[in-house]
Structures are given as structure tokens and as C-alpha cells.
């Protein structure tokens, strides 16, 4: 923290984007700032709301060279941005160097990464000497947004000021602890079940509570991440998820809402209501979803029934719902998650998993749900 550990004395803070860089569309700037705020919101009791005008706690601006605070920017490169610790007036404000080339990717300077770092300052964090920390002073795109995760050093720092998120298990770690996140589900727990499972650009994602396991062909060991590390605006404890390859999107469901994500970006206009997909009002949540890559048909499982959705026409097929047991013999109702792989459908139910051959229309194997996690 800064000397004297300045912090906000309230948990709801306002922010305003005073002006915009011409490097990016305004909505992308807004989205990057919002995503950066959610990084901190996810691990503290802090909440943020945007003011369209007037004086906000956190005033955000882009400026080049001398810009009125006696800390002039220095053109392209070197100093990218600076921010002030919590307090009134210019304190808590964030200034981005307009001479940088602001982007949302790996070229130029990634606005989300820099914003998340600078907002750490506005909340009271000083620089960290831990290279893996977001608050390390040197820009490093290896912390790229698709792999973004607060380090434990960042979490310890911010929680030393504000405490943990009221609904999260991520808390201040005792100094002697070697296990920073004891609430992470144990991947080889024989009773482990999943909330949802999906593919994503050739990888497999297994969702559980606030976490996901990521299994890629490049890393034989499953990686565990906070869902919020990839998509800060998504809820935890998801109901269902599936990838629509033709749209390069993963659709994620919780309750009567669903979100579309492309890579690390939650698409604008979401969440949407599941009723826009054609579900009747009696459906209050989706148990599981899977999209057949070949037919472009998506199957939604709800209790003992399933619906079939046409991704090309973006319409529910007629003649549904049907009973799961009629078309997927051997599969029990109340499916947790479904995955398509190697020509089979894998139905997850509690700690068990049924491998279903759609051609033979029969269950060919029964496995533990966590068999995918090398257990």
C-alpha cells in the first residue's frame, strides 16, 4: 500500500471517463475500464458505478505530455499511465498517456491491463516487487487478458485494505499459509461434480463454483482459474455452457439469463433472457447444453426433457421438448453437463459420467466425472 495506507472509507465508488482515446471505439474503452474495475470488485466488497457527468471519485482521462499535474507524460513508450491513491480532488484519478497506441490485444499497449493496474493504485495499492503481480510496475503482456489472473500478492494487498468479497471464499491469507485458496475444489475428489462443461477453441473448460479447470493440448496438467479471471462480469455457479463453433462463441447460462463470450471478451448486449431462444416461461434454468459440431444443432437439457436448437436459423426446432430417456436411452434426468468429444456425448451427473454413442444410441462407458482431469 502507499505510505500511510490511504484507502476509501466507503465501499461504493463512482467513476467517470472524462475523455476518450481516438485509438479505440468509445464502447471498447468503456468495456475495458468496466472489466478492469470488476477485477477488483471480484475480490473485495467494493462496487462501482459510472457517472455520465460531474465529479466522480475516480476520474479517468487520456492526456499527452504536460497535462496539469506536474507529472508530464513522455511520448510513446516508457511511462504509460499513472494514478493517484484514494482521496478527494485529483486523488483517486487515473491518467493514460494518449501518445501510446491503445489496443485491446497484444500489439501496442493493452488498455485493460494498464487500467486494471492503475485502478489498483486508485484503490490504494502501491507497486509490488512480485513479477507475477498485476501491481508490478513494468508492463508485461504475458499477463494477457485471456490468461489474466490477480496474483495472491494483489489479492492480499487489496484485501488488507478492504477485506474479502462478501460472497467469496477468497480471503486474506495467513502469513504462514502455503495454500492460498483452500476453497478451490479438489480436482481428484471422487465426489467431484461439475456445474457446466464446454469446449473453447480446442480447449476444454470444466466449471465448478467460482472456478474452472482449463485443459489444453499444450499443457498436460489441467489449470485451475477463477472464472472472473477470464470474464470478470460473469457469475459463478453456472448452470450450463456450450460452444457454437460457427459463431466462435461460448454461450454461458445461469438462471434465466445467458451470456456470449468470444475468447476473453463478454459480448455486448448480454446477458439476454433464455426466453429469447424460445423456451417456455416454465423453464427457470438450463441444466446442460451441448452443440453438435456437425449438424450445428444445440441440445438443451432441462429436468427430464431436452430441446433442440438450430444454430444456423437461431430458432428452436419444432417437436420439442422430448423426453431424454426416449432419445438418449440410459441417460438419467437432471444432467449436470454435456460434452461432445471423439464422436461421443459425455453426460455428467454428479460424480459419474456416461459416454453415449449417438450412432448406436447407447451408453458405452461409465466413468468418474473427473476422469478428464487426469484423476
Amino acid at each position: 500500500t502507499f505510505p500511510g495506507s490511504p484507502k476509501w472509507r466507503k465501499t461504493h465508488l463512482t467513476y467517470r471517463v472524462e475523455n476518450y482515446t481516438p485509438d479505440l471505439p468509445r464502447e471498447r474503452v468503456d468495456s475495458a475500464i468496466e472489466k478492469a474495475l470488476k477485477v477488483w470488485e471480484a475480490v473485495t466488497p467494493l462496487t462501482f458505478s459510472r457517472l455520465p457527468e460531474g465529479e466522480a471519485d475516480i476520474m479517468i482521462s487520456f492526456a499527452a505530455g504536460e497535462h496539469g499535474d506536474f507529472y508530464p507524460f513522455d511520448g510513446l513508450g516508457q511511462s504509460l499511465a499513472h494514478a493517484y491513491p484514494p482521496g478527494p480532488g485529483f486523488y483517486g484519478d487515473v491518467h493514460f498517456d494518449e501518445d501510446e497506441k491503445w489496443t485491446l490485444g497484444s500489439s501496442g499497449t493493452n488498455l485493460f491491463l494498464v487500467a486494471a493496474h492503475e485502478l489498483g493504485h486508485t484503490l490504494g495499492l502501491f507497486h509490488s516487487d512480485k513479477k507475477e503481480a498485476l501491481m508490478y510496475p513494468v508492463y508485461n503482456f504475458s499477463r494477457n487478458p485471456t490468461q489474466f489472473q490477480l496474483s495472491q500478492d494483489d489479492i492480499d494487498g487489496i484485501q488488507s485494505l478492504y477485506g474479502p468479497h462478501p460472497y467469496s471464499g477468497v480471503s486474506v491469507v495467513p502469513t504462514t499459509s502455503v495454500s492460498p485458496r483452500p476453497e478451490i475444489p479438489t480436482k481428484c475428489d471422487p465426489s467431484l461434480s461439475f456445474d457446466a462443461v464446454s469446449t473453447l477453441r480446442g480447449e476444454l473448460l470444466f466449471f465448478k463454483d467460482r472456478y474452472l479447470w482449463r485443459l489444453s493440448r499444450w499443457n498436460p496438467e489441467p489449470e485451475v482459474h477463477l472464472i472472473s479471471a477470464f470474464w470478470p462480469s460473469l457469475p459463478s455457479h453456472l448452470d450450463a455452457a456450450y460452444e457454437a463453433n460457427s459463431k466462435d462463441s461460448v454461450f454461458i447460462f445461469k438462471g434465466t439469463q445467458f451470456w456470449a463470450v468470444q475468447g476473453s471478451e463478454v459480448q455486448a448486449g448480454y446477458p439476454k433472457s433464455i426466453y429469447t431462444l424460445g423456451f417456455p416461461p416454465a423453464v427457470r434454468k438450463i441444466d446442460a447444453a451441448v452443440s453438435d459440431k456437425d449438424t450445428k444443432k444445440t441440445y438443451f437439457f432441462v429436468d427430464d426433457q431436452y430441446w433442440r436448437f438450430d444454430e444456423k436459423r437461431w430458432l428452436m426446432d419444432k417437436g420439442f421438448p422430448r423426453l431424454i430417456k426416449d432419445d438418449f436411452p440410459g441417460i438419467e434426468p437432471q444432467v449436470d453437463a454435456v460434452l461432445q468429444a471423439f464422436g461421443f456425448f459425455y453426460f455428467f451427473h454428479g460424480s459419474s459420467q456416461s459416454e453415449f454413442d449417438p450412432n448406436a444410441r447407447m451408453v458405452t462407458h461409465t466413468l468418474k466425472s473427473n476422469s478428464w482431469l487426469l484423476c
Binding site: 510513446l76 511511462s79 501510446e100 494498464v114 513479477k131 510496475p137 513494468v138 508485461n140
Partner: protein
């Protein structure tokens, strides 16, 4: 990293390093001992302080590893002290 590209063609001057230490590590602006090799030199100590903070080997010299890190884009908030 265009700045790194520039390094190979035109090594940065010691003025750059001095400016960096002044800006981010609170080096006194009137310090004139930049090239003094004594380990007790305030500048050498400042370089070591910077190297320690940035996770570099504490040589007290502006070696290539140190310069590489110094030339990378970074946050404008000082690592030592603060805005005054």
C-alpha cells in the same frame, strides 16, 4: 518494443538512467556521481535498490539485463517514494 530496437542501434545515454532513477526511485536531481564506481556511491546504491525491487541481480551496474527492464514500458507511478 520499438524502444528495445532503438537500443541496439543507439545505446541509451547515462542521462536516461539518471532520469529514470530520479523519476521512479527518488534519486536526488543534483546527484553528480553517476559514473563513480565506489560501492558506497548513492547512485550505485540507488541502482541496487532498483534492481532489488525489479527482481534483477543486484550488481549496482547498468548491465544489459537492467537496461532492458528500464527500457520497457511501465507505470508512471514511482517505485520509491511517491508523487510529490
Amino acid at each position: 518494443y520499438p524502444l528495445q530496437g532503438a537500443v541496439r542501434q543507439d545505446p541509451p545515454s547515462m542521462d536516461f538512467a539518471q532520469h529514470y532513477l530520479e523519476k521512479y526511485y527518488n534519486l536526488e536531481k543534483n546527484e553528480k556521481q553517476m559514473f563513480r564506481r565506489k560501492e558506497s556511491s548513492p547512485v550505485v546504491k540507488k541502482i541496487q535498490e532498483m534492481q532489488k525491487f525489479l527482481g534483477l541481480e543486484m550488481t549496482g551496474k547498468l548491465d544489459s539485463n537492467t537496461m532492458d527492464v528500464m527500457l520497457k514500458p511501465r507505470c508512471g507511478v514511482p517505485d520509491v517514494g511517491g508523487f510529490s
